[in-house]
């Protein structure tokens, strides 16, 4: 039997987590506030669109996805006070004005003939940018100090990938003519340009900045 009093390394040999991370508490909270705002806008839009789409399968998926994004915003809402933001509403903000314009443009289609546009905005522009911003955050924040954010990111990313696949397959099944391919592409390009202007879900730097980050420790303390 192994000696229980024999000294062991605090980190097992297979545990390669690192202390350094790109974000300090303040920066992490800012990003989380942006995520919460964007997830809120997404679940509100999906809920509103349910009544406007005639396709029964799409209607049911939108209702299901509506809840998933509401739950994501709830996770971020609960994380904010843990990041020293005792008034979560203060940081529940869009990254910038361009992000507000993006959401306005994305939620513009309402007519029953515009299901393609509705889905393209969400599943070909908004959700891929969520996946990008969340992946960047997960891969660059401190694996030890910011573990609660990473845990939420992992749950949320699983949902985002599942929903993206659902949405993309719905779009592919709805597009039946070359004209509809053009419609989808034109709408994606229009929204993609607005998202470019916004710089991503958390603004410029959502998936890393051209200039090196200076906000947090980037060296030392590794296991």
């Amino acid at each position: 039997m192994a000696d229980p009093y024999k000294p062991r390394a605090p980190f097992a040999p297979w545990d390669r987590r690192e202390l350094p991370g790109l974000f300090d508490v303040e920066e992490s909270a800012r990003r989380v506030g942006n995520y919460k705002w964007a997830e809120m806008k997404l679940f509100e839009a999906l809920g509103g669109w349910v009544a406007t789409v005639p396709e029964l399968d799409v209607k049911m998926r939108l209702g299901t996805h509506c809840y998933k994004h509401a739950w994501h915003s709830e996770l971020w809402h609960k994380r904010l006070p843990e990041l020293r933001e005792m008034n979560p509403d203060r940081l529940t903000q869009p990254a910038n004005d361009a992000m507000v314009r993006f959401v306005e443009a994305m939620t513009e289609p309402e007519a029953p003939e515009q299901t393609i546009e509705k889905l393209v905005g969400v599943y070909r522009v908004f959700i891929p940018h969520f996946i990008a911003a969340y992946t960047f955050h997960k891969n660059n924040t401190s694996q030890i100090t910011d573990a609660p954010t990473i845990r939420s990111l992992q749950f949320i990313l699983q949902d985002e990938f599942d929903d993206w696949r659902d949405g993309e397959m719905l779009i592919q099944s709805l597009i039946e003519t070359p004209d509809e391919v053009d419609r989808a592409s034109a709408h994606q390009a229009r929204l993609g340009k607005l998202m470019l202007e916004a710089g991503g879900i958390a603004g410029p730097g959502s998936i890393g900045a051209a200039t090196p980050a200076t906000t947090a420790a980037t060296s030392g303390g590794g296991s």
């Binding site: 705002w37 809120m40 679940f43 509100e44 839009a45 999906l46 809920g47 509103g48 669109w49 349910v50 009544a51 406007t52 789409v53 005639p54 396709e55 029964l56 209607k59 049911m60 998926r61 939108l62 209702g63 299901t64 509506c66 809840y67 998933k68 994004h69 509401a70 739950w71 915003s73 709830e74 809402h77 979560p88 509403d89 529940t92 903000q93 869009p94 507000v100 306005e104 939620t107 513009e108 289609p109 309402e110 029953p112």
Partner: protein, 301 residues
């Protein structure tokens, strides 16, 4: 996207046929609308000669009701500004939009999103159950009155009308269908109805809790919401479709209503309204039958 969505624009594919409450009650297949002699009990039980068609009809009604409940919950997520959402407030101000009475708590919206998911599952379940029972989408008309109750510009009135009145009715309907499945020896139907019933009890409780919390210091608003609920309850008791009487196809599920947060007095009020509606309908049917007999007499002379 507009903030409030009109019931006549609810998007449907070509299989659906929408009708008003008035159309539905004029349908000779309606609960008490037939002029042939009625049996003693109209309760939906397998021994009824028309049990199969009536159960399919009720299941289709559940199916379209779930679609509208999904749409209503989704619209409540969208139509009202979340308390503390200053960016949305700025947008509303910029658009000169003051069409809403209030911002709603974030947690209320989360509950509505959760309800949207639940209702989406109920649509899925209803489609599969309809198919199981030999029904088809569009076989019966869709009465859109449920969504109308979800069109109030006051979120608390929506909760009173939808979560307490309509979801309360859903508790009664699912209890009846669950019992029907049990009596008919259909465990598949009974199993699914029991799961949906559990969700509906949760939705009614959500409505009861939010009504109490949001109107805690606003007795006038609470009174207004409860009055609206009463109107919707009466509307859905129209024709005596649901009551304690065996003459109604659907019974009043008293125990599950209490679990969902209805007080004993509230359940009694609904029971009285439902019985009154049944009596009103019987008088109306008697008048229609007398008028029809008069026309028949004229035609033969």
């Amino acid at each position: 996207m507009r903030k409030f969505f009109p019931v006549e624009e609810l998007a449907r594919d070509s299989r659906f046929n929408q009708v008003t409450m008035k159309d539905r009650m004029a349908d000779p297949r309606s609960a008490l609308g037939k002029d042939e002699p009625r049996q003693k009990s109209n309760r939906l039980v397998p021994s009824r000669p028309d049990a199969s068609a009536a159960a399919r009809g009720l299941m289709h009604g559940i199916f379209v009701g779930e679609i509208q409940a999904l749409e209503g919950a989704g619209r409540t997520c969208h139509d009202f500004r979340t308390a503390g959402d200053s960016a949305r407030r700025a947008q509303d101000d910029a658009h000169g939009d003051d069409s809403f009475v209030d911002a709603v708590p974030f947690a209320l919206k989360l509950d509505m999103a959760r309800q949207a998911w639940d209702e989406a599952r109920h649509v899925e379940i209803s489609v599969k159950l309809s198919d199981w029972m030999g029904g088809e989408i569009g076989e019966f008309a869709e009465n859109t009155v449920l969504f109308q109750a979800a069109c109030s510009s006051d979120p608390i009135l929506r909760l009173a009308g939808v979560n307490r009145a309509l979801e309360g009715l859903a508790i009664d309907v699912f209890t009846t269908m669950k019992e029907f499945g049990d009596l008919a020896g259909d465990p598949y139907l009974e199993f699914c109805e029991d799961w949906m019933l559990a969700d509906e009890v949760t939705h009614v409780k959500m409505g009861s809790d939010w009504l109490r919390r949001v109107t805690e210091h606003d007795p006038d608003r609470r009174k207004q919401a409860l009055e609206f609920q009463s109107v919707v309850d009466k509307l859905f008791s129209y024709g005596g479709t649901r009551s304690d009487s065996q003459e109604s196809p659907i019974g009043l599920a008293r125990r599950f209503r209490e679990l969902a947060g209805f007080t004993a007095d509230e359940v009694e009020d609904i029971a009285e309204v439902s019985l009154a509606a049944l009596d009103e309908r019987k008088v109306a049917v008697a008048k229609m039958q007398a008028a029809a007999a008069g026309v028949e007499l004229l035609a033969t002379t």
